[in-house]
């Protein structure tokens, strides 16, 4: 069953379109990675789904369906009921997302009392259980601590506990491990995967890190300059990337095992939304580009390798 379906989504700030024709779906209990560099529109995609676009941003076209209901133009009051209860979000920087003057327990209990109408004492007990769920040791002691008393990895676990308080069907995780050390990151990724399986929760993982996606996602959407470049099963994409951008991006990452020597870098830089090129947006940086690439936007096509790519040469 499709839990979340995004159809031809476009997001604008004034007359500038930062996101265009973005479509993807997430099945219940599935882990989908949306990957891209800065300016690709990956965070805007997440915020649009949550109804949290920054001031001045609006959904200019397309539809977002969640649990079989159209939520594209849901009034803020209804959206607020959905958020936290049916879908929840965690961000890159847990320090900025947590309230520094409330204990971890108070912050989890607040959600439980607001969305699930729990009483103070029951909410507190549930807060301890949630901290255990996210594998925080000595949860009954930690629940009384303030965010500054926790390490970065612990804070992100506490954020996940808050997000899980109402057992959402969809968790949106925006760069959840980018600010963390590698050994801590591995623990958080294991936790997310475990929770997704255990609770049957769908996860939309937003990241710039293809390694993270390869590690835990079943399907991947690659965004470039506000459009989908490639989408498909993770194993297919990493085995045989179809879009020249995906290929170039994977090749440019330094490896722990591959040959040494100059890295095949991608020339140029990601274009700004103010001057997205006409035609294929990757064409100016693409080593394979033909004149036809700059003439028209390429459409998504299924490839024999199992993914779909927006490239006339793929």
């Amino acid at each position: 069953m499709t839990l979340l379906a995004v159809h031809d989504l476009a997001v604008s700030f004034g007359t500038t379109r930062v996101l265009e024709d973005v479509s993807f779906g997430i099945a219940a209990g599935e882990m989908l990675g949306v990957v891209g560099e800065s300016g690709s529109g990956k965070s805007m995609t997440a915020l649009a789904v949550m109804g949290l676009l920054p001031l001045g941003g609006r959904i200019a076209a397309g539809k977002i369906r969640f649990e079989d209901a159209d939520i594209t133009a849901l009034p803020e009051r209804d959206m607020a009921k959905l958020r936290g209860a049916r879908m929840a979000m965690i961000f890159q920087d847990p320090t900025a997302s947590l309230n520094p003057v409330l204990t971890i327990g108070e912050q989890i209990a607040e959600v439980l009392r607001h969305h699930r109408g729990m009483h103070r004492r029951a909410a507190w007990r549930e807060a301890v259980a949630l901290l255990r769920l996210v594998e925080i040791a000595a949860a009954d002691r930690r629940v009384e601590e303030y965010p500054h008393q926790l390490s970065g990895g612990m804070r992100q676990r506490a954020m996940i506990a808050i997000a899980l308080a109402c057992r959402p069907r969809l968790l949106i995780a925006d760069e959840p491990t980018t600010a963390l050390d590698a050994t801590v990151q591995a623990g958080i990724l294991d936790l997310l995967r475990g929770l997704q399986r255990e609770l049957g929760m769908a996860v939309l993982l937003i990241t710039h890190d293809l390694g993270v996606v390869a590690d835990i996602c079943e399907r991947v959407v690659v965004l470039y300059a506000g459009r989908v470049a490639e989408a498909g099963a993770a194993h297919a994409m990493f085995a045989a990337p179809g879009h020249p951008y995906t290929r170039a991006l994977l090749a440019s990452i330094p490896s722990l095992t591959g040959p040494l020597g100059p890295l095949p870098a991608i020339g140029g830089m990601v274009p700004s939304p103010l001057d997205f090129p006409p035609g294929c947006r990757f064409a100016p940086r693409c080593t394979l580009a033909l004149p036809a690439c700059e003439a028209a936007q390429p459409v998504m096509r299924h490839l024999p390798s199992g993914t779909s790519a927006a490239c006339i040469l793929a």
């Binding site: 259980a129 050994t183 390869a214 330094p254």
Partner: protein, 329 residues
């Protein structure tokens, strides 16, 4: 290795609050050599890098540059030496003065050191880092992150230093830009014969840049070896844990060595081996004695009482250790 260009012996730095960021580190970098320094946040790698430039004053140990003890060199003499040292920081947004254009940014170090025709060198510096002459009149905000890092590199190289510290130079950059900057640094290092300390938390970037790699944990170097050894035959349990946590697209993740607990407070580190509280192999000896950085093989030094590859059983035990205490109802 030829005679070291920069050599620190017993370098120690304690900050306010008793935080011992660097605890007695011996480190040497040869002329034209790149040494990689990896570790996680708080391990002291950035402090060690700054100690080696005397941007942070050590409170123990000595620092030699070109064979001369510069630990207590006066300000004036130190200033003369600075033209031989450069540093590139992580954040190309914070490290360039927004009120200066590129020509001014690049000329400033030359003017400060009285190195003649500053304006004339600007064009050469721009082309050195792959920027165009017309970029000279622009201001930092007009550039992308990758281009700014090129400007920061040009500025660090303006006085033709012999020693360059790169502190997480690509961590703030996009993936597709990271490769450009790594290629540039690697090319410049070889072309100019720079001695380079490449500090990063990114193991793959360090592997790419540095033929010799040091691993740091809580103020100490725990392992140092040629690149192939660190990535193929690591002996210290911490190095192995770090490698097991690195993920790479298209490569199945190795069996992960889960570290119990957290990095201890550097103001009150554990006795003996700093890593023992999280080490799957820790024994009584590890609490009693600080393991010396001994020579395990030629060019390969390890600070561990029980070095060697962790067995499957030991790795498996680390995973069970953190298994969920209580299931969700």
């Amino acid at each position: 290795m030829t005679a070291p260009l920069v050599e620190g012996l017993g370098l120690t730095k304690t900050f306010a609050g008793g935080v011992r960021a660097v605890a007695g580190v011996d480190i040497a970098i040869g002329q034209g050599e790149t040494l990689g320094l990896v570790g996680e946040s708080g391990c002291g790698k950035s402090t060690l890098a700054r100690l080696m430039l005397r941007l942070v004053e050590p409170d123990g140990g000595t620092l030699h540059f070109r064979g001369t003890d510069i630990t207590n060199l006066g300000d004036r003499a130190m200033r003369g030496l600075r033209r031989d040292m450069g540093i590139v920081f992580q954040d190309p947004y914070g490290s360039l003065n927004p009120r200066m254009n590129v020509a001014q940014l690049l000329a400033e170090p030359l003017t400060v050191h009285g190195l003649g025709d500053a304006q004339g060198r600007v064009a050469a510096l721009l082309s050195l880092v792959g920027l165009l002459p017309e970029h000279a009149d622009r201001y930092p905000h007009e550039f992308s992150g990758g281009q700014r890092q090129r400007i920061a590199i040009a500025r660090a190289l303006a006085t033709q230093p012999a020693f360059l510290v790169c502190d997480e130079p690509t961590s703030a950059l996009d993936v597709s830009i990271q490769a450009q900057v790594l290629n540039l640094l690697s090319d410049l290092q070889a072309r100019l014969g720079l001695a380079c300390l490449f500090v990063s938390h990114n193991l793959a970037a360090v592997r790419y840049m540095a033929p010799r790699v040091a691993v740091m944990y809580l103020g100490r170097i725990v392992e140092i070896a040629p690149r192939a050894t660190i990535f193929g035959d690591a002996q210290h349990p911490y190095t192995q844990a770090l490698l097991s946590a690195a993920i790479e697209p298209g490569t199945p993740r190795r069996a992960r060595i889960v570290l119990r607990g957290e990095v201890p407070n550097p103001a009150s580190p554990p006795s003996g081996c700093h890593f023992r509280t999280r080490c799957p192999r820790a024994a009584a000896q590890c609490a009693a004695l600080v393991p010396p950085l001994f020579e395990h093989a030629a060019g390969h030094r390890v600070a561990c009482h029980f070095p060697g590859a962790l067995t499957e059983a030991e790795i498996g035990a680390t995973a069970r250790m953190t298994a969920r205490e209580i299931a969700f109802d």
